[in-house]
């Protein structure tokens, strides 16, 4: 939770009711990137608005670098302009009547060399050639760069990014993600990015919090969250394709436990997951292997391909296991494998679910 160098830089707990919707979030982060991952309507943007002071919480606290910005009980609420939060809006909110450099210069703190600061941030975000342009003359990606330069030039102590890539085409999105990743090392401040795209969390997060209907389902360090989410709803948001209700039936011969999912009996090497009651058995599609020949081994299933969907140079292949009532298995298979084995809907295949890749969650 805490910054490795000491106390967390940002701590907050917020409550807000809006009509029938109720938000309750809390977190503590250091100079790291927290990605709030959630479907739309889960309260992501509301959280950012409450933090920035654009909306007032019903209760809670916000502390940034030891300074209390909001305390519902004590009646403290620091005005927006004094919170020193950089907020990148989803639509960027560039000032339409100002050029890019005037936009960036707008928030440069008094007492600093505005011209040098503007030049520095425009260069860092590769938009110096558009310094004299107006926002309406920029492409989506350029707008985002300009807005980010403006935000960073104001020297915020916390950066809030609201779905920063959602309005961009894929190639630009990927390039900007890469650039943001490079910039990340230079930004020594806490960052909260909200998105519904788990790939953004995978690229940019240090910590991930999954939100559903205004509540934090699960929060944790990114590697752990993606490797072993603890709740099946979280696993779904994080892109785990195979997610089946299951029950633990006993110990597996090679260690770990044996799990039943429908008619399937599978060994799970890592038995640390929830052991009681109904659990879920999870496996990323990329971890499901195709096997051809060889001796039968535990955790292998035979079945028939039902659907092949090309996806980013690879394919999501759905396989219906032969066992009656078994859940469909999704596997990720590269093009050349698909082609060399002539796989198409109806083909008979054998899949192997490696025990060390399967995991349980609640």
């Amino acid at each position: 939770m805490a910054d490795p160098r000491g106390a967390p830089l940002l701590e907050f707990s917020l409550r807000k009711r809006l009509g029938g919707f109720s938000l309750r979030v809390e977190a503590a982060i250091g100079a790291e990137w927290l990605v709030l991952l959630a479907p739309s309507g889960a309260g992501k943007s509301l959280t950012l608005n409450l933090l920035a002071g654009l909306m007032t919480p019903d209760a809670g606290q916000i502390r940034l670098e030891g300074r209390t910005l909001y305390d519902g009980a004590a009646g403290v609420s620091v005005p927006i302009r004094k919170r020193r939060m950089g907020y990148l809006f989803q639509d960027y909110a560039l000032f339409p009547h100002l050029t890019v450099s005037a936009n960036v210069a707008y928030g440069v703190p008094a007492g600093t060399d505005a011209r040098a600061e503007v030049a520095r941030w425009l260069a860092l975000l590769h938009i110096q050639e558009k310094a004299g342009a107006y926002p309406r003359e920029l492409s989506g990606g350029q707008r985002q760069r300009a807005a980010l330069a403006r935000t960073l030039a104001s020297r915020p102590r916390l950066l809030l990014l609201d779905e920063p890539f959602s309005a961009l085409d894929r190639p630009i999105r990927e390039r900007l993600q890469g650039e943001l990743l490079a910039l990340k090392a230079r930004l020594d401040l806490p960052v909260i990015l909200v998105t519904h795209d788990f790939n953004e969390a995978r690229v940019l997060a240090d910590r991930v919090a999954v939100l559903e209907q205004g509540q934090v389902l699960e929060v944790g360090e990114k590697e752990r969250m993606f490797r072993r989410p603890r709740r099946h709803a979280t696993a779904g948001f994080l892109g785990v394709e195979n997610l089946w209700p299951a029950t633990v039936t006993g110990a597996a011969p090679g260690g770990g436990c044996r799990v039943r999912a429908g008619p399937l009996e599978l060994d799970v090497a890592d038995g640390d997951g929830p052991q009681e009651g109904v659990t879920h058995l999870c496996c990323y599609a990329a971890d499901v292997r195709l096997v051809f020949g060889g001796p039968p081994r535990p955790n292998s299933l035979s079945g028939a391909v039902t659907q092949i969907v090309p996806d980013q140079g690879s394919n999501r292949v759905r396989v219906q296991p032969a066992a009656a009532g078994a859940p469909e298995v999704v596997s990720r298979i590269d093009d050349y494998v698909l082609r060399s084995h002539g796989l198409r809907p109806g083909s008979a295949v054998t899949l192997w679910l490696p025990p060390d890749k399967l995991f349980l969650c609640g």
């Binding site: 920035a52 654009l54 950089g86 809006f89 909110a93 000032f95 339409p96 009547h97």
Partner: protein
Amino acid sequence: MIQDWFPIWLTLRVALAAALVSATLGLGLAWLLAKRRFPGRNLLDALLMQPLVIPPTVLGYYLLVVFGRGGGLGRWLEETWGVTLVFTPAGAVLAATVACLPLFIKPARAALEGVDGRLEDAARLLGKGEPHVFLTITLPLAWRGILAGGVLAFARAMGDFGVTLMVAGNIPGRTQTVSIAIYDAVQSGNLAGAHLLVALMTGIAVAVLLLVNRLTAGRY
């Protein structure tokens, strides 16, 4: 030819003064109505729009009651500042101001409401206080609508008849504006004089609306 230029000269001065006063007063009110939520906001809006619907004579009557010698405010103004409003050119400015205020507020308010609140929020987040946000973001983005309001207010002030007649009276060479002079000319059968003034007023009105259309057409 126009023999007496006084009504035209007076009308221009009164209308300009009224437009400036109503713009100064109205900008604050328009901002309040556009950007702030407070109890009584709808009532304030309804009261400010009264001059559009209430009969001018009724409005003039109210002004006489409040600003006349018998009215509290009128007596105070006269005793403290030596200012008399009734049957003076200052009274004509007061009458025209009240008559044209809603015509300034309506477009100005719409223009201020048209400025995306996110832009103002972005400016606040960049560390700027309310006056700075208003002067650097809101005003530059809304100026066309505000100016359109000013022009409309000017035009309305130029043409006011009823309220001005009630408050400032019809004193040739002192409080007789063009509208009243036209009425006077027609009453006394001087149709040639009326025609010229009517043509002048019509020309100004058309020019003003063309200007307003031009101002409100441009957008970022």
